[in-house]
C-alpha cells in the first residue's frame, strides 16, 4: 500500500501559541487514521493544514508523493483531491441538498449537470436520503445535514477524506446514522483522517489511533494498543477523563 499522505515535522503556531510541534504522520491508502486528544491539542489544526486552509510554519506535507506545502503549488488543485467535512456541517443554506452536492462536480470538475445529478442521486439513495434531495438544509435534522455534508465531499471522489469532529454537534441518537456512513466508507476502502471524541467508534474503524497532546503525537498504534492498553501517562489520563464523561 502506498502512502497517500505524509506529514514530516510539521510545525504551526498562532501568534505565540505553538499548536503543531514538529509533528510527523503517514497515512497509507485505504486506511483510517483517527486523531484523539483534548480540545486544543491540535487535531483540527492538523486537518486544516492538510487541506491548506492554514499555511504551515515549517516541515513538509506530501499528497501522493507531491509536496503540497510547496508555495508554488496550485491550492485549488490540491483541494480538488481532498474532501473535508466540518463539525458544523457548513452546508450552503441557500441551495437544496441536491444543489449542495452537485455544485463542485459541475463548477469545479466540469461534469455535465445531468450526470452530476444522477451521481448525486445514487449517493443519496445509498445513504437513504433520496426524499430529501429537493429540500433546503434548514429543514433537515442535524444528522441528515451531516450525512449530506459527507455525500457532498464524496461527490468529487477525493483521494483522502478529512473528517473534523463530525459528530460533536449532534445528539447521541443522531451520531450513529452519521458514523454508519463512515463505517461504510471504511469498508469501501476510502482513505480517511478523522478527529473524533467517539472512542468506541474509533476502535471500530481505526487502523491507527494517534493521541495528540500539545501539538505532538504522544502515542500511536492500533486501537487495541492505544485505547485499551495505553503506555503514556497523559494518554491514560485523557482516556480516564473520557471514560468518566461516559463516551467510551
Amino acid at each position: 500500500m502506498s502512502n497517500v499522505l505524509e506529514l514530516v515535522n510539521v510545525r504551526k503556531s498562532f501568534d505565540s501559541e505553538l499548536v503543531l510541534n514538529d509533528l510527523s504522520l503517514t497515512v497509507k491508502e485505504h486506511t483510517a487514521t483517527v486523531l484523539i486528544g483534548a480540545s486544543g491539542s491540535g487535531k483540527s489544526t492538523l486537518l486544516r493544514c492538510i487541506n491548506l486552509l492554514e499555511t504551515i510554519d515549517d516541515g513538509q506535507i506530501f499528497l501522493d508523493g507531491q509536496e503540497i506545502s510547496d508555495p508554488l503549488i496550485s491550492v485549488d488543485e490540491v483541494r480538488r483531491k481532498l474532501g473535508m467535512v466540518f463539525q458544523s456541517f457548513n452546508l450552503f443554506p441557500h441551495k437544496t441538498v441536491l444543489e449542495n452536492i452537485t455544485l463542485s462536480p459541475i463548477k469545479v470538475h466540469g461534469i455535465a449537470p445531468d450526470q452530476a445529478r444522477d451521481e448525486a442521486m445514487v449517493l443519496l439513495k445509498r445513504f437513504d436520503l433520496t426524499d430529501k434531495a429537493d429540500q433546503y438544509p434548514d429543514r433537515l435534522s442535524g444528522g441528515q445535514q451531516q450525512r449530506v455534508a459527507i455525500i457532498r465531499s464524496l461527490a468529487v471522489n477525493p483521494r483522502v477524506l478529512l473528517l473534523d469532529e463530525i459528530t460533536s454537534a449532534l445528539d447521541p441518537v443522531l451520531v450513529n446514522e452519521v458514523l454508519s456512513i463512515v463505517r461504510d466508507l471504511k469498508h469501501d476502502g476510502m482513505t480517511m483522517v478523522l478527529a473524533t471524541h467517539e472512542m468506541g467508534f474509533a476502535t471500530q474503524v481505526a487502523d491507527e489511533v494517534c493521541f495528540l497532546e500539545s501539538g505532538l503525537i504522544l502515542e500511536r498504534g492500533s486501537p487495541e494498543q492505544v485505547l485499551k492498553n495505553p503506555q503514556d501517562a497523559k494518554t491514560k489520563d485523557f482516556l480516564k477523563r473520557v471514560h468518566e464523561a461516559g463516551r467510551l
Binding site: L18, V19, N21, D58, G59, P71
Partner: protein, 289 residues
C-alpha cells in the same frame, strides 16, 4: 500551549527557508506586476487627458491654483454648514428611522394604522427624488403662510433631507431586524421576555450591529446630499462655489469644493472599511479561510 524556551530554540529548517525565499520571490513578482500595470494604466489616462485638445482651457478654468486659494475660506465656511446639517439631520434621521423600522416590524394589531402610515411614508420618501422633496418643502411650506412655521431655508432644507433619509435608513434598520434568525426570538421569548423586551435586548442590538456598515455608508451619502439644499439659497459649500464661479466664469471653486468633500468622505469611508473588517473578523473567528 508550548511557549517559552522550546519556541525560542526553534530555527526554521532549510526547506522552510527555501520556501520563504520562494514566497518572497512570488510577492516580489506580484509587486512588479502591480507596478507595471499601474504605470501603464495611469500613464495612458494621464496622456489622454494632457493631450486632449481642450486641456489648456480646462486647466485654466478648473485648476487655477491662485484663484482656488482665494476662494478656499468662503467655500470652507460653506462646508461647515454641510457638516452641521449632516450631524443635526443625522440625529433626527436616526430617531425617526428607528421608530419607522420598529413600527413596520411590530405585529401588534393596535398599531395597524401606524404600520400602514409608516409603510406609506417610506414608499413616498424613498421613491421620490431628494431634489424634488427639497423644492417642495423649501418653497411649498412657506407658501402656506401658516403662523409659527419657519421660512428659514436652512431649517426647511434640513427637514427635506431628514424626511428622505429617514425613509432610507428605516429600511436598512428593518432589513437588519429581519435578518436576525427566528431562533433568537424563540430563545428570548422562551425565557419569558415580552416581545418588546425581546426586541430591545436581543434582536435590536444584533440587528444594529449588523447594519452599522450600511448606515455609515448612508451617512457619507447624507454628507454629500446636503449639498443639494444649495438650491434653496443656503450658502453651503456648493452654493459658495457657485457664487464665486458665476462671478468670474472660472470653475475652480467647484473643484475646491469637491476636494473639500473628498477630504471628509474618503477618510470616513476608510474608517467604515475598518469597522466592517473588524466586526466580521470578530464574528467569524472560527472557520475563517
Amino acid at each position: 500551549m508550548l511557549n517559552g524556551p522550546d519556541q525560542q530554540a526553534w530555527s526554521p529548517s532549510s526547506r522552510e527557508l527555501q520556501r520563504r525565499n520562494v514566497r518572497r520571490q512570488i510577492s516580489r513578482k506580484q509587486f512588479t506586476i502591480a507596478g507595471i500595470s499601474s504605470v501603464l494604466v495611469l500613464g495612458a489616462l494621464y496622456t489622454l487627458i494632457i493631450t486632449s485638445p481642450g486641456w489648456q482651457v480646462v486647466k485654466e478654468t478648473f485648476f487655477d491654483l491662485d484663484y482656488g486659494r482665494e476662494v478656499l475660506p468662503t467655500v470652507l465656511r460653506g462646508l461647515v454648514v454641510n457638516i452641521q446639517l449632516s450631524f443635526i439631520g443625522g440625529f433626527f434621521i436616526a430617531v425617526i428611522a428607528l421608530s419607522l423600522a420598529l413600527i413596520r416590524t411590530t405585529k401588534s394589531p393596535a398599531l395597524t394604522p401606524f404600520r400602514f402610515l409608516a409603510t406609506a411614508y417610506v414608499d413616498i420618501f424613498r421613491g421620490a427624488p431628494l431634489l424634488l422633496i427639497i423644492l417642495l418643502v423649501g418653497f411649498g411650506v412657506p407658501a402656506l403662510r401658516l403662523a409659527g412655521l419657519t421660512s428659514n431655508v436652512i431649517v426647511l432644507g434640513t427637514v427635506a433631507v431628514v424626511l428622505t433619509y429617514s425613509a432610507y435608513v428605516a429600511e436598512v434598520i428593518r432589513s437588519g431586524i429581519m435578518s436576525i434568525h427566528p431562533s433568537q426570538r424563540a430563545a428570548a421569548r422562551s425565557l419569558g421576555l415580552t416581545s418588546g423586551q425581546t426586541m430591545r435586548f436581543v434582536v435590536l442590538p444584533q440587528a444594529i450591529k449588523r447594519v452599522i456598515p450600511p448606515l455609515l455608508n448612508d451617512f457619507v451619502s447624507l454628507l454629500k446630499d446636503t449639498g443639494l439644499v444649495s438650491i434653496l439659497g443656503v450658502t453651503d459649500a456648493v452654493r459658495a462655489a457657485q457664487i464665486n464661479a458665476s462671478r468670474t466664469f472660472n470653475y475652480t471653486p467647484y473643484v475646491v469644493s469637491a476636494i473639500l468633500f473628498l477630504l471628509i468622505t474618503i477618510p470616513l469611508t476608510r474608517y467604515i472599511d475598518r469597522v466592517i473588517r473588524r466586526s466580521t473578523a470578530k464574528q467569524n473567528s472560527e472557520g475563517a479561510i
